[in-house]
């Protein structure tokens, strides 16, 4: 080996901490890391807002304990998706918006609101709220997530294996989630048996594909 420093890549000078080889290798492979990073912020904005909205949707499935359990899995896994990708945003020299309103506004998937208006007292008007309508909101939220993480897989394939790995892990779970809500909505709305075909998860929010960075027990 020569004495020349050979660990610099993509025009990053030895010892230069103002640039990241971890970003330049992506740029060299034809993907703009800043554009990708902004897309990731939009995508985890959606994970974060659905984590919030699913809290509300789940509790309005009152008395439907099996539906609540499935929704809880999906809810906690969305939080896991958010947390899996947050560090990647910072590695790509981005940050979470300081204002949570900006974060929600730029989320790449729609607000998953309880499908009923508010009543005069500022609570939900639940008089005509149907279980099947809640299940449909859940299903469409999962479908949006599948499309988002598929787009991010497309953007990163052959250019950024680290982000690709995260996106495909999340995509695995989003496809699980869609299958769950297809099964539940088919039965509830159409009295049709349309199995997800899955085996049971472990603890609620198990996130078997996406929780690969469990640093402590509270995560």
């Amino acid at each position: 080996m020569s004495d020349d420093k050979t660990h610099a890549a993509g025009g990053v000078e030895p010892g230069d901490t103002s640039k990241r080889v971890g970003m330049e290798v992506i740029r060299e492979r034809g993907v703009d890391p800043e554009e990708l990073r902004e897309k990731l912020i939009d995508a985890i904005g959606a994970e974060f807002t659905t984590y919030y909205y699913y809290t509300n949707l789940r509790m309005h499935l009152a008395g439907e304990e099996d539906y609540k359990e499935i929704t809880e899995d999906a809810r906690l896994e969305d939080r896991a998706h958010f947390e899996l990708v947050v560090p990647r945003v910072y590695e790509l020299e981005g940050s979470l918006p300081n204002d949570i309103r900006d974060f929600a506004d730029r989320a790449s998937c729609p607000d998953a609101e309880v499908p009923t208006p508010m009543d005069d007292e500022g609570g939900f008007d639940t008089s005509e709220l149907e279980v099947e309508d809640i299940l449909e909101v859940l299903l469409e939220a999962e479908r949006c997530a599948i499309r988002t993480w598929s787009e991010i897989c497309d953007m990163t394939r052959e250019a950024d294996p680290r982000t690709y790995d995260m996106a495909q892990r999340i995509l695995n779970e989003e496809i699980d989630h869609e299958a769950w809500f297809i099964e539940l909505l088919s039965k509830e709305r159409d009295d049709e048996i349309n199995p997800a075909g899955h085996f049971a998860r472990g603890e609620p929010g198990d996130a078997p594909y996406s929780t690969n960075n469990r640093f402590n027990d509270s995560a």
Binding site: E38, D42, S95, P97, N98, D99, R101, D102, F103, D105, R106, S108, C109, P110, E140, R143, C144, R147, T148, E151
Partner: protein, 130 residues
């Protein structure tokens, strides 16, 4: 329009890709048949014309285009405003033809700036941290 005895009307949609986009089909124009109950995005992808999209629920604006001729409707779009329509913007993921239509694709940056000017999301939320 092609007349159909049963089923929805079918319209001709002319899709113009701007010259400056970073795809192999930059600058090309495609003509596709789109039925009235189908979205322009879904029909284009079916025909092998890969247009940008993300949510496919008329929310994120990734699929923004501009209608230069003809009429579209957005019955299922989650975030599409009268002023978007008046300015000629369409969200191709949810836009369904109501006549023969000509659209220009890849108007995301333009719609983002327009939304920001009108203080509508995701406009300013995407600019605030730059």
């Amino acid at each position: 329009m092609m007349a159909t005895d049963d089923g929805p009307d079918i319209w001709t949609v002319t899709i113009t890709i701007p010259k400056d986009v970073d795809r192999d089909d930059a600058g090309r124009t495609f003509e596709i048949e789109v039925s009235a109950d189908e979205t322009i995005l879904a029909a284009a992808r079916r025909e092998g014309v890969w247009l940008p999209a993300d949510c496919q629920q008329g929310w994120c604006t990734t699929c923004a285009g501009r209608v230069v001729d003809g009429e579209v409707t957005h019955p299922h779009a989650r975030r599409y405003h009268d002023e978007d329509r008046e300015a000629g913007f369409a969200l191709l993921c949810t836009a369904r033809p109501r006549s023969d239509v000509t659209v220009v694709t890849d108007q995301y940056d333009e719609l983002l700036a327009f939304r920001a000017k009108h203080d509508r999301p995701p406009g300013n939320a995407k600019f605030n941290d730059d």
